[in-house]
Structures are given as C-alpha cells and as structure tokens.
Amino acid sequence: MNHQIYVFLKALLGSCKDLLPIVLVIAFFQFAVLQQPMPNVGDILVGLALVVLGLTFFIYGLEMGLFPIGESMAQAFAKKGSISWLLTFAFCLGFGTTVAEPALIAVAKEAATVAATGGIIADSLESQLSYANGLRFTVAFAVGFAIVVGVLRILRGWPIQYLILGGYIVVVLMTLIAPNWIIGIAYDSGGVTTSTITVPLVTALGVGLASAIKGRNPMIDGFGLIAFASLTPMIFVMIYGMVIH
C-alpha cells in the first residue's frame, strides 16, 4: 500500500511540473505586463488542483487501460489475419471518434457562420446546420480513410515519407484551385481531429500492429497514423468546399 501511495505522489509531482510553465506564464503576464491583480484567487487554486489531479489520473489510466487495449486488439487482429476486418475496425475507429469530437463540432459551427456571412450558403439556420454537418462528416470520413491508409502502410511496410510528401503536394495543388474562404478552415481541420483519447489508442494500435507483424519496426512503422489523420482532412475539406462552390 505504501508503495502505491509513493507512486501516486510521484505522479502527482510530475503533473505539478507539467503545469508549472502555464502558471508562470499567466502570472508573469498578469503581474508584469498587464499589471493587474489576480482575480478570484480561490477559484484558480481549486481549478489548478483539479487539473493536477486530473492529469495524474489520466496518465495512470493511460498505461493501465488505453495502451494495453489498443495493443491487445492490434495483436488479436494480426493473429486473426483478416485484413478486411482490421481495415473496417480502423475506419470505424477513425470515423467514430472524430464525428463526435467537440472541438470539431465547434469549428464546424464557426465555419458555417463564416460561410453564411460570406454569402457562400444561404443565410438561414437550416442551411448553416446542413453545411456544418456536411463539414463534420467530411472530416470524420477523412480521418477514417486516413487510419485505413495508415494501417495498410503498416501491413505493407510502405515508407511513410512518400505518402506524407505526396499528401503535401496534393494539399498545395488543392490550395491553388480551392475557393479562398475554405482554405483557413481546411488547414485548421487537420489539427482539431485528434482528441485526447483517440491519440493514445491509435498510437497503441499502430505500435501493436508493427510489433505483431514480422519485419516491421515499431519505431519506424508503428508511428505515423496520427500524421495521416491530420493530413487527409485538409484535402477532403477543400474538396468539400469546391463541391459546395
């Protein structure tokens, strides 16, 4: 028991260290640059304590639950040897985790307002909603597609740089022909897709697959799934913009 408490306290201390830079930055700007007193100090202290505790629990659960389940599923699929089921799983994981992602919902809503004020779509609530939903499903589909391509890459051992660089070239070419108002949203949509729970799961999946398949190096082949998931939404959202246009 004592040992467990020691481990927990150590993890707590680690979380405090992770948070220290934010506290320093905020304090510095509040006192030295803006020269204002700190508002509701009590609330802030409580909030900080919650953040530290939350981060500690998260990391603790990560190594106990998320990493093992990701890796054991990857190994089970590799043993089963059914590529089509593995790819279906990959697609569902990408699509399912993205379509409900709160950050994406927020960005899609904001993007719908841009489009309405810019006169791209009709200025009614209904058309805004359908546009926002369209955007959301486009991004979710793109992420599902990305995980499928990423898993295929691990299975076949394709070198990642050619795929990513090829993707960059497509993004650049699409930027030239896509309507201007979609570009900022498209670029941002790549970054908002990957949530705090998806990332550890997908990483564990990739590493688990690469270690289960002979001839794959988990370092070279296991990482990279998230890179695909942040690249394809840019391409698909620009296509969406062109279709709407």
């Binding site: 905020i26 639950g65 108002w181 705090t196």
Partner: protein, 281 residues
C-alpha cells in the same frame, strides 16, 4: 457542493464523448475477435481512471486557466493596450504587437507541455525506442515548435499575409529535413504535428486569433481568426526533426572526439613504451 455537480456534469460530457470509441472497441472485441479482453479488470479500471482524470482536468481548466488565458488574450490584443489611449487603431506597425508575440510563444510552449495526448505519445515513444528518445526532450522540442508556430501565426495575422505561403514554405522545410534527418524519428515527427493541438492549446489559441483578427482593421475574425492551429501543427514537425538532427550531430562529434582522444592516448602510451625500451636497452 456546486463543484461536485459541475464535476458530475463534466464527467457526463466526457463519457458521452468516449461512448462511440468504447462501443467500437467492445463491438469489435465481442463480435469479431470473440475473445475475452486480457486483464479485463485492469483495463476497465484504466478506462475509469482516464475518464475521471479527463473530467477533472477539463473542469479545472474551465475554472482556472481558460477564463484567465482568454481574458489575457483579449487584453493584450485590445487597441488600448497596443497604442496607449487609442480606442481604435490608426496605423499599426507589426512591432506594436511585441507582447502579443511573446505571449503567443509562451502560452504555446506552456500549454503544449501540459497536453495529455502529447504526454501519451512521448511515453510510448520512449518505451518503443528503448529510451533512445527521451520523453521530456521530445515534449520540449514539440513545445518549442508550437511556440514558434503560434508566434509566427500571430505575426501573420498582424501583417495580413496569406496563410498558404507560410504553410507551403513550412512543407518545403519538412521535405528537405526528411531527407537529412535520422530515419527513426521521421514517423514520430510527423505524428507530433497532430497531437499538439487538443484540449489545452486550442481554446487559448483560438481566443488569441480571434482577439487579433477582430481588433486589427482590415482583418476579418472569421477568415483570419482561423489558421493558428495549422501553424501549431506544422512547426512541431520541423522542431522534432531538428532535435533529432542536433542529437545525431552531437553524438557523431562526441564519438569522433572520443576516437581522437583514444588515438592520442594510444600514441602517448606507445611513445612511452618506446622510451622505456630505449632506456632498458
């Protein structure tokens, strides 16, 4: 008591967010793999901890950091702060915003250090590489990348350059680095672009972008406010590859130096031996 109800509410939202993932995992595990989950009790507890942790984390951010950070972003970009006493900005020079760039870099760096998904990837990378990649060094290089990215992105909003010039230039740098940096780091570097921007960074950065774009004449908050996140996902890639290149060069140099030192030592020993031989003969 209020805090407790707020916590329950956040926990409920977190569970709703996780539900799709959970049902996909369970569905495939039970219907396709058809084997019991290994260590099911431990994994269950792990998931439970992750949920509790995430809910506490989000609630704490909502209580302490976000209101303050957002307020700061607004105050630092407000016309009164940029040009003392002016309600509306007249002619601006990009240097007027020096505190904004510093804030952008500092907040980008510090929020990235606390980003849970980056912590996860860094832990995994250290484990998989057998310690060759240090989790903390990786996180610091990603954070430096985000800091540079957000500062540069803020500068772009201030001067009003089109975003794609910057992004395309960044891509060119990534391509060149890909050919010269150690192969092992490439996939991890590409990944680090996507993991930087989630729970902590996005809300604060969005507030900064919106504050900038809505106060500078000629910028539209709806068009120029976007794009900061793209910068925050591109520059970490460059930073991580640069970190790998620097470590490799250093290791090579250290090796060469060691070789040189050994050779000198050997030479000395040889001459000493010769001398001894001379004396004895």
């Amino acid at each position: 008591m209020d805090l407790f109800f707020e916590f329950l509410n956040t926990l409920k939202n977190t569970i709703v967010d996780v539900l799709p993932i959970l049902s996909i995992i369970l569905g495939f595990q039970l219907l396709v793999i058809r084997k019991p989950i290994p260590h099911v009790k431990q994994v269950g507890f792990g998931f439970f901890y992750v949920l509790i942790g995430l809910a506490l984390f989000l609630l704490g951010l909502e209580k302490a950091l976000f209101p303050l950070g957002k307020m700061m972003a607004e105050q630092l970009t407000a016309p009164e702060f940029i040009q003392a006493g002016n309600q509306v900005l007249t002619s601006i020079h990009w240097t007027d915003y020096k505190w904004v760039y510093i804030f952008a870099a500092a907040i980008g760096f510090s929020t990235t250090i606390a980003e849970p998904s980056l912590i996860a990837v860094a832990i995994k990378a250290e484990e998989v590489s057998g310690g060759a990649i240090n989790a903390n060094s990786l996180r610091i290089s990603v954070a430096i990348g985000v800091a540079i990215g957000i500062a540069l992105g803020s500068y772009r909003i201030v001067v009003g350059h089109p975003i794609h010039y910057y992004i395309i230039a960044g891509y060119v740098v990534v391509v060149i680095q890909t050919f010269y940096c150690p192969k092992l780091i490439v996939p991890l570097a590409y990944d680090s672009g996507g993991v930087t921007t989630s729970t902590v960074t996005v809300p604060l950065v969005a507030a900064l972008g919106l504050g900038l774009a809505s106060t500078i004449p000629g910028r539209s908050p709806l068009i120029d406010g976007f794009g900061l996140i793209a910068f925050a996902s591109l520059f970490p890639i460059i930073a991580v590859m640069a970190y790998a290149q620097i470590t490799e060069t250093k290791a090579n140099r250290a090796e060469k130096q060691l070789e040189k030192r050994n050779r000198i030592k050997l030479d000395k020993e040889n001459t000493r031996k010769l001398n001894v031989n001379d004396e004895t003969s």
